[in-house]
């Protein structure tokens, strides 16, 4: 009967993550390649033209956030199946919606020249300055709306199951324990995290759907206009929350697997539950840090944007990453590729918080906003944090559920990935320090060296990731089929 690393869920649930994770591997790889192309263009090494650069920028941003979120839902789905009674049909439906939406987005970008950025900042989709027309924008916005709807339905399903099992979100976020009404430990960390993600993402997706729908109407009925500041608030609320939720879904893999690797429990203690309540609130309300340079915003909102962004660092710094360090410290943990990635993800998250908090400081934001500093910090916690969680989960699956054994290539690619991603993000931060703007197809001569260095590191990241994908796909078909991992209590007929 399996081993201590096995997660006991139904084999059909195990198999259900194989397709979305394989898709994640392929799409991430392609988007990384596009990322390298952008750097080569900025570094004057190749000549794609500005139009192509902005199309790549749009697909890279959309594709990366979209696919990483899809992988995040796969992580959340996999582990929450231990606690909740979830409907497989809705998980699959989200993937179908995703594929339909992505097809529309791709056609909008590559056949109809849409290049409005993944932030589709109103009224840019409708006023392209000559590059794309109505159809392009409609395909892109419509595709995003379909993708968002799929995710929304999935989070509603998670919410339904959580409320059915725990009674309410207040209970699954541990309020009875926090308030001292109930003694002892509260819900498992995975449940607290899952609840947080449901709350913030339902908020984000409804806001996103509303602004997408309004932008679509505006495309066809130009007299229907939107207040540009309201639109900006809605878009960044949606974008900030949705992009941030990826790491909060991914961390469920850390909560669930690190205890299995270290043989130490990770429980829903009071501190942990308080941290997740803080994260829930802060994630929703700190998005104005994207609007720090919109001085027409109420002053108190901008100041809160700074102060709460600082505070938002506390849950991870004091509870989650700190807890992971305690778990690992003198644990005699058996390091393998999967556990290394999970540990790396905590490192990546924390180190990514540093430049993020620096940039959330209004006086610094004043000279760093929309420079490459910004992609510098979020590539850190996306690449070394969120992606490390996803890759760690994929390596875990092929090892424990697929019979793969770590080899030298795996270890080599792990280290190349770490060092090269640090180099890549370091080159972005450096560009930001010397005031190179983000989202510029053409760079001035003084910014070019950092782009070329970035492209070299980016190529190494892409190659390392290629190795991960090949290893995953080679073993993925075994997942959910190994006799030793079938729980006799769950499957009597198997």
């Amino acid at each position: 009967m399996g081993n201590i690393l096995t997660v006991w869920i139904d084999t059909s649930r195990k198999r259900s993550v194989v397709f979305p994770l394989s898709l994640t591997g392929v799409v991430l790889l392609l988007m990384m390649f596009f990322g390298v192309l952008m750097l080569l263009e900025q570094g004057n090494v190749i000549e794609l033209g500005a139009g192509m650069f902005y199309k790549l920028l749009t697909i890279h941003g959309t594709g990366m956030i979209g696919i990483a979120a899809l992988a995040g839902t796969a992580v959340m789905w996999y582990f929450l199946n231990q606690y909740l009674d979830l409907k497989l049909g809705i998980f699959i439906m989200n993937i179908v919606f995703f594929l339909i939406g992505v097809t529309m987005v791709l056609i909008g970008i590559f056949s109809y020249d849409f290049a409005g950025g993944w932030t589709f900042l109103y009224p840019l989709p409708a006023i392209s300055g000559g590059m794309w027309g109505q159809t392009a924008a409609a395909l892109y916005l419509g595709g995003m709306l379909i993708i968002g709807t799929g995710f929304l339905l999935l989070y509603l399903e998670f919410s339904r199951a959580i409320i059915k099992e725990y009674g309410s979100f207040a209970k699954s976020l541990g309020w009875p324990q926090i308030l001292g009404i109930v003694k002892g430990y509260g819900p498992a960390p995975a449940i607290a995290a899952g609840t947080m993600v449901c709350i913030v993402n339902i908020t984000a997706l409804i806001t996103g759907a509303a602004i997408l729908a309004m932008s679509l109407i505006n495309l066809y009925i130009p007299s229907f206009t939107i207040d540009p500041l309201l639109a900006k608030n809605m878009i960044y609320a949606f974008g900030h929350i949705f992009a941030n939720s990826i790491i909060y879904m991914g961390v469920i893999a850390v909560y669930e697997l690190l205890p299995r690797y270290t043989g130490r429990p990770w429980k829903g203690s009071k501190a942990l539950l308080i941290a997740w309540n803080m994260s829930t609130l802060f994630t929703v309300i700190i998005y104005p840090h994207h609007l720090l340079m919109d001085f027409v915003m109420p002053k108190w909102m901008l100041i809160l944007g700074q102060v709460l962004s600082y505070a938002n660092g506390l849950p991870v710094l004091v509870v989650t990453a700190y807890g992971a360090l305690l778990l690992v410290y003198r644990s005699g943990i058996k390091w393998d590729i999967a556990s290394s990635f999970l540990y790396l993800s905590m490192f990546g998250w924390v180190i990514g918080v540093v430049p993020a908090i620096v940039d959330a400081t209004i006086v610094i934001n004043h000279v760093m906003h929309n420079t490459k500093w910004v992609p510098g910090h979020f590539h850190m916690y996306m690449g070394l944090g969120a992606c490390a969680m996803i890759i760690g989960f994929m390596f875990y699956l092929t090892k424990v559920e697929g019979g793969r054994q770590d080899n030298r290539l795996d270890r080599l690619s792990l280290w190349v990935f770490i060092v090269a991603f640090l180099g890549l993000t370091g080159s972005f931060l450096f560009s930001g320090k010397v005031s190179a703007p983000r989202r510029w197809a053409v760079h001035f001569q003084e910014w070019v060296p950092a782009d070329i260095i970035g492209a070299l590191f980016g190529t190494l990241v892409t190659l390392a990731f290629l190795a991960f994908v090949i290893r995953f796909i080679n073993y993925a078909s075994n997942i959910g089929r190994m006799k030793s991992n079938v729980d006799p209590r769950i499957e009597k007929h198997g």
Binding site: A115, V296, L325
Partner: protein
């Protein structure tokens, strides 16, 4: 300069983070009772929390004193300069300024969102704000050095986003 400060702080704190994670990695081998680790760990955690709270509060206190969207007291009435961004260029009401001018840039846009990024001669950003349709953002800047300053677009606005620029000359 804030850019330099941001860079140095980030490097130092990153080095600290790398050190902590490597340290725990090195010490992950020999297993001891978890309750012992917890006892010590939770004590250190409260110290860590206090350090963070003090650090964040101090940083907030000092950095929130000097906000770029507030007129500095004691600098007198600012010189108003009106900036209008449009795909793909800037209209500026005053292109020649003098050292010592305390300028209020009133920035807006007539089509989509743009960014107003003011670069000095060494191509460092010295001030910025968003250029939004229907709204006017005001940013204050005092010119202390003569030279050619360049306004660049800092919000993605379409295919010629990187072409938008405008020079301002500041003389003695």
């Amino acid at each position: 300069m804030y850019q330099q400060a941001a860079w140095v702080i980030t490097l130092l704190l990153s080095a600290f983070v790398i050190f902590i994670f490597l340290f725990v990695l090195m010490k992950s081998g020999r297993r001891v009772e978890y309750s012992k680790v917890q006892a010590k760990g939770y004590f250190l955690r409260s110290i860590w929390l206090v350090i963070l709270l003090v650090g964040f509060s101090t940083a907030s206190y000092y950095t929130l004193k000097d906000l770029p969207f507030e007129r500095a007291e004691g600098k007198g009435a600012p010189l108003d300069v009106y900036v209008e961004a449009v795909q793909f260029g800037f209209e500026v009401s005053e292109e020649k300024l003098q050292v010592g001018d305390y300028v209020a840039f009133h920035v807006t846009s007539s089509d989509v969102n743009h960014g107003f990024g003011l670069y000095d001669e060494n191509m460092n950003i010295v001030a910025q704000t968003q250029a939004m349709p229907e709204y006017t953002n005001t940013v204050y800047y005092q010119f202390e050095k003569p030279g050619t300053y360049t306004i660049l677009c800092l919000e993605y606005c379409g295919v010629a986003h990187h072409v938008m620029s405008k020079e301002i000359t500041v003389t003695k």
